[in-house]
Each structure stands twice: as structure tokens, then as C-alpha cells.
Subunit: 285 residues, 2 copies
């Protein structure tokens, strides 16, 4: 009997799963009434389409939502100033900010209270970072976003620096930034707020790819984290394939195969993974 | 006119200079009576010999000192438990612990008070580290010495870690340790206690070696920090020479030379640097 093993952390992370579950719950309660999400809940067009079917529309502009409407804050979070603004407009907010993102907000507040200048390692224009900077401002603190090594140059004369990271920050860069800062400042406090969703997904592949005959990675061809999973898998198993949907699976990949591994990038919904799994089952039998 | 430039930080560091000045003062007050130093005040046989001439003997065993004797604690410091023990024996202590080493003791006490597990980056058997571990114990804290990357493995499950360094720790290794730890622990506090004596000496050479015709590095042939200065100098100026004393200077090095740079390792006394300088002056004229 051929065997199919789906990696334990395939697909959506905890925070996105939670946000979508919340959205579905709100949709059920509202009985088909229109609900807004502030930006897409997940970067996956098929899933956004499915949610639209449940009455959850992506807000194009804040003017879209009218008094009394329900607005879902997605996993990335928003600045507290923005939250107040929306409440003042009479909107009903459903906060699906990921608890790990909330932990970044709290870490920033703590560092500000303790008198640290805050360094947020992340991408300046990322919605999560914009949200976190809002909490920094709200707490009355000062700080900067560090995106690349050169951003550190300006920090040479600081005495007490507190560091946090965007949840999806690469560990390698975070490590380098912390190491450099430790040499420059008198006192450094680091609260590691990197979420392990990305590394868990990658560790799954390190664990699984060598143990199966064929490894299938499911996810958008332009999804960076999916491509990375495919790279890792290929380095361990030459019979690794990256597909977006079940249609792309080729029968010849599975000839004489006993064990197939499946994993999926963080933006791949479970139902697409399921379709891939069923198709493979069919090809194997 | 030929010119000789002595690097601003050539020779003894601040802490050693201070310890020797203290020893000389004690010697003057004691009027030739025997004074002990706990270990050599500096790793330079000629200087130890000179101090012996001032009545300052290196203690071979703690039994050497009798009640009423004066004992100098050198720049590395000692554990507070040892200090009490010596005082109980009726010895008079002169504390020449370097203020930068005291700063490490204080940093450790602070981290313990704040509830951190302490990581001391340094050499387990170094007298300074032994002293600092005494302060860790005295404060009721727990911690470890990290000497090499493998020592970090045991620290993977800690939640709150505070890091300090032996004052002469290499910046590169400290940086790597801090970076790794930042990924593993929930909260990391780093107090950079590396003394800049070593890097100042090296920066002097980077600054000076390229601007002179000949560069002379003075210091023990087995002194690691002197050899490093010579390495840096050679990479910038092929006419770099490492000598232990003025006798080793060769007239041919200075033929047609306009500018000579001099620096010295951290264990080279000023009077040896002066002798080298005078001899070069002679050779240049
Ligand atoms: S949204 Fe996902 S990537 Fe981490 S921070 Fe939350 S689990
Ligand atoms: S003894 Fe010297 S090397 Fe630094 S810590 Fe004190 S100045």
C-alpha cells in the first residue's frame, strides 16, 4: 500500500487560520450581511474568492464601510490610532490580530516603559510593522525600523536599545542586527518576537523530504515562502515538485512510488492541499 | 627632518597603568617594606623585575603573606569571597581592580537582581572570569561561562538570559554568541562590558601604518595582542617590524626614511617604548 504523508505544518499558520475562523463565525452570525476585511485575510486569490462567497469583502478604501458595518482586522494588526478612528465612525470591529503580533505590540510597550529606544527589525511598509509603530507612538516611545544593515549606522550613539522583530523576520538577519547592536550600545534588551511558523514549515521539509520517494510542494509560484520550501526539498530529494493546484500533478511522477510527502506554503488553503492529496491518491491506486 | 610618531594608545592599557601607579604609591608609603601582588601586575618579566626593585613581590602562594602585610589586587580583580578571606587573615588590601572589570561585576549583580540567568562570555580559567563568577555567586545568581560555540547548546531552553563579557573578549565572538542567544531565549539583556583597549590599539595601527615609511611594533614575541598588531601593520605596510627591545632594531631599516611609526602591545612598559624611540632617533640622525 502506497502512503501519503502531509507535513504537520503544511499551509496556513496559526494566526491566519484563526483569522479565517473568526471571519467565518462573524459571517454565520450576520446571516449573509456584508462584512469587510481590512485588506485580504490571506494572499491567496482562491481563498479570498471563497470568503467573498461568505459575504466577506476586501475593503478597497475606508470609505467603503458605513456606520454599523462590521470590519475584520486581519492577523497583521493595525495601529491603535486607526482602531479608534474606525470605532469613532461607528464601525463594529472584529479583531483577528494574531496573538503573536499582539505580543510584539506588548514587547514594544514594555521596552518603552523601561526607557529603551526601540529597534524594530522588519520591513518599513509591511502592514504589521505599520501597526507596531502605532503602538510605539501610542506608548510615547521613540524608535526606528531596521530593514537592512545600513539602517544600523544611525544607531551608533545610543545607550539603551530594545530590539523586537516583525513576526516573519528572517532569523539570520535578526541575529546579525542584534550582534552588531550589542557591540555599539551600552545596554541592549532583545525580545525575540519572531514567530516560528516559517521555520516550522521548513523543519517539516528537512524531516520529511529525505524519507519519501516523491515530495510535492503546494503553493503559488510567486510565493516566496513556498519557493523556499521547494528549494530545501530539492536539495534533499531530486524528486521534488512545486505545483499550484492538483491539475498540475503528472501521472509519471508517481509510477512505482511507495511514499509521497506533501507540504504547502503559508498562503495555501487546506482545501487546495486536500484536492492535491486526493488526486495523488487516485494516481497511486 | 625625520619624524617619529608614537601611537596614542601604545603599550599598557588604562587599568594596568593605574594598577602600577597604585603599586608605586604603596611602595613609596611603605618605605621599602615588602608588598605582595596577587599574581604579576603585568605579563612582562622586565617590568615585574623593576617592581621587585620597589619591594613589590609576586605572591607564589597565599601562605607567603603574613598578618599586617600589604597585598595588591591586580587589575583582573578577585572573587569577593577571596577578598574576605584575605582580610580575615589580617592582610591590608590595596584594590587595583580595573574600573572596567568592576563594571563587569556590577553588570552581573544587576542582571541577577533583575532575575536573569547570566552568560559570561570569556575564558573559564582567566583570573578576571574567576573573579566575576565570585560576584555572580555572591549575588545569589546562576550562570555559565561561554568560551566556544558548543557551550551554547546547553542554553537552548532558557527564558531570560543576561549577557556580559570578559573585558578582553573578542568582539567577533561576543557578537556571534549574542546573535545565537537572541534566537533561542525569550528575553535577552546584553550589557557590553568589552573594554576598548584592544580595539583602540588596533585602530591606531590602521590609522598610522599606512602614513609612515616604516612601522615598528614593540612587544613580546609570544604576546598574542602584539603579534596581532604586527599582522595588521604588515597588511598595510610591508616595512613593518616586530621587536622585543631596542637592540633588535637594524640600521638598514631606516635608510632614507622620513617617517617612522611606533606602537606597542598591551604588556610593553613605557620605558621599553622610550628606549626603542631613542634608538630610532639615533639611527635616523
Ligand atoms: S499570523 Fe502567522 S506567521 Fe506567525 S505571527 Fe501569526 S502565526
Ligand atoms: S585592565 Fe586594561 S584591558 Fe581594559 S579592562 Fe582594564 S583597561
Amino acid at each position: 500500500m502506497a502512503e501519503i504523508i502531509v507535513a504537520p505544518h503544511a499551509g496556513f499558520c496559526f494566526g491566519v487560520r484563526r483569522a479565517i475562523a473568526l471571519a467565518e463565525k462573524v459571517s454565520a452570525e450576520k446571516g449573509g450581511k456584508r462584512i469587510w476585511s481590512m485588506g485580504p485575510l490571506i494572499h491567496n486569490p482562491q481563498e479570498v474568492q471563497r470568503l467573498r462567497g461568505l459575504g466577506i469583502e476586501v475593503m478597497a478604501s475606508e470609505e467603503d464601510a458605513k456606520e454599523g458595518d462590521t470590519v475584520i482586522i486581519r492577523s497583521h494588526g493595525i495601529p491603535p490610532q486607526k482602531e479608534r478612528e474606525l470605532l469613532q465612525k461607528g464601525l463594529r470591529l472584529v479583531d483577528a490580530t494574531c496573538p503573536y503580533v499582539k505580543a510584539v505590540h506588548q514587547a514594544v510597550e514594555k521596552l518603552v516603559q523601561e526607557g529603551y529606544f526601540v529597534v524594530l527589525v522588519g520591513e518599513r511598509d509591511h502592514p504589521e510593522v505599520i501597526g507596531t509603530l502605532g503602538y510605539l507612538q501610542e506608548a510615547g516611545g521613540t524608535g526606528v525600523v531596521v530593514e537592512k544593515k545600513e539602517d544600523l549606522e544611525k544607531l551608533k550613539n545610543l545607550e539603551r536599545v530594545g530590539v523586537v522583530a516583525q513576526t516573519t523576520q528572517s532569523e539570520q538577519f535578526f541575529k546579525e542586527v542584534v550582534g552588531e547592536l550589542a557591540l555599539w550600545v551600552k545596554e541592549l534588551k532583545v525580545i525575540n518576537t519572531i514567530c516560528n511558523a516559517t521555520s516550522e514549515r521548513q523543519e517539516d521539509v528537512y524531516e520529511l523530504a529525505g524519507k519519501v520517494d516523491v515530495m510535492i510542494i503546494v503553493g503559488g509560484k510567486n510565493s516566496g515562502n513556498t519557493r523556499r520550501l521547494y528549494q530545501i526539498s530539492s536539495s534533499l530529494n531530486p524528486r521534488s515538485y512545486h505545483v499550484e493546484t492538483a491539475e498540475e500533478l503528472k501521472p509519471e511522477w508517481f509510477v512505482g512510488v511507495q511514499r509521497v510527502g506533501i507540504t504547502a506554503g503559508a498562503s495555501t488553503p487546506d482545501w487546495i492541499i486536500e484536492q492535491v492529496k486526493s488526486k495523488i491518491q487516485e494516481l497511486l491506486s
